[in-house]
Amino acid sequence: MSPAVEVLVRTVAVLAAFLVLPLLVGQTEHKVMAHMQGRLGPMYAGGFHGWAQLVADGVKFAQKEDVTPAAADRPVFRLAPAVGLVPYLVALAAVPLSPGLVGADAPASAVLVLAATAVGILGTLMAGWASANKYSLLGAMRAAAQLLSYELPLVLAVASVCLAAGSLSLTAIAGAWSPWWLLWQLPGAFVFLVAAVAELQRPPFDMPVADSELVFGAYTEYTGLRFAFFLLAEYAGIVLMSLLFAVLYLGGWKGPLSGDLGWLWTLLKGFVVSVLVIWMRVAWPRLREDQLQRLAWLGLVPLALLQLALTGVWVVATA
């Protein structure tokens, strides 16, 4: 295969995964959340249990009018959804499904993924500021405060795993994984999961989009496709964080029959994690802003540092 064709195939594959997996998670959220609340969820679109609901939603969004508020900062307002969406696409390309199955095999892919997700927040900030709406601005500022606070424990937790594996490459990390890590890296895994949910601004950490206080936070003024892009970014974020959790803490493609079907294991583990993320949304109430910061700085950061020390001591002791 010539390099050009290979690049094309990889790009198309990553793009397809980027468009399909979030829809899958979204539909799972529709159905799981509905059943957890004693409802059925969408039942009509597509015939069988409403499987095409999100496709129909997409068509609906595409038909809607694209409104830019008169007082808004037009270029920034229009650019924000792309800034929010593209980093997740880049990050998803670097997450391996199995040793040979990765969109772009970067040597320091763990750092690449973290760096890309850190850029995604700019989209929210731009959207919130450019909307010329006080709720949007408040939502953006809450999002900024929240994401800055939770970035630190997230990076520390990932650093611990990288330390344990002795590599910054996600492929090598999952390669070095052994079931013993489940216990050894448990505090780090907990920190990562909580911080990831907070990074995604999902309930119980959805202060920035708290509908009863801020309408829809930074996305209040958005309509049509641009709004759909933000939604897609949220679900792509769930996919990304779940796959990352699977690769970092659950061994990725390791499992029975992992020879050829390793990628299936990664997807399956990632799916389980995303169901957990959905479950948290259904089961728990939203945190207050001060509780949010307290949890990050007094709970997660010390725990992540503790995990880092534990990992370091163990690595040095066994070296």
Partner: protein
Amino acid sequence: MTGLDVAFAAAGTVAAASAVLSVTTRHVVHAALWLVVSLGAVAGCYLVLGAEFVALVQVLIYVGAVVVLVLFALMLTRAPIGPNEEVSASPLHRALAAVLAAGVTALLAAVLVPLARVVGAVRRGGPGTTGLGEQLFGTWVWPFEALSVLLLAALVAALAVAGMARGRGAGEP
């Protein structure tokens, strides 16, 4: 001119142009956004130079944290939409600043560009991520530790400054 030269020229042009825009724009928040573009393009330059890890850290820390903090501060200190003449000094002041800035650029370029031949050319032969780690925790381990103390001190200082203001605010009738 090699292919890499062209790539660096492209990224460098973007970085330089957006840097100039970020210090000349009259929109407060646009300045920070142009800074994002500039820093991102600088990260691209690092990538072209073969320093992936430094590029990633640049994006992670600079774009992900520093600029977000700057934007946060801009929004907290009133950042209206639209051009605002108040953000820059008087025209005379600006002209003087421009002369000085041009002087700095000319001086640096005059010193550095002849040096370029002396130093050689980039062969993307940097230490690599592994080498970087070895250097960081070998030769440079004490400065590294000192930096971590600096970070801690900065954190405490920021908290103290914020707390000081709050204490005073509470004291006011």
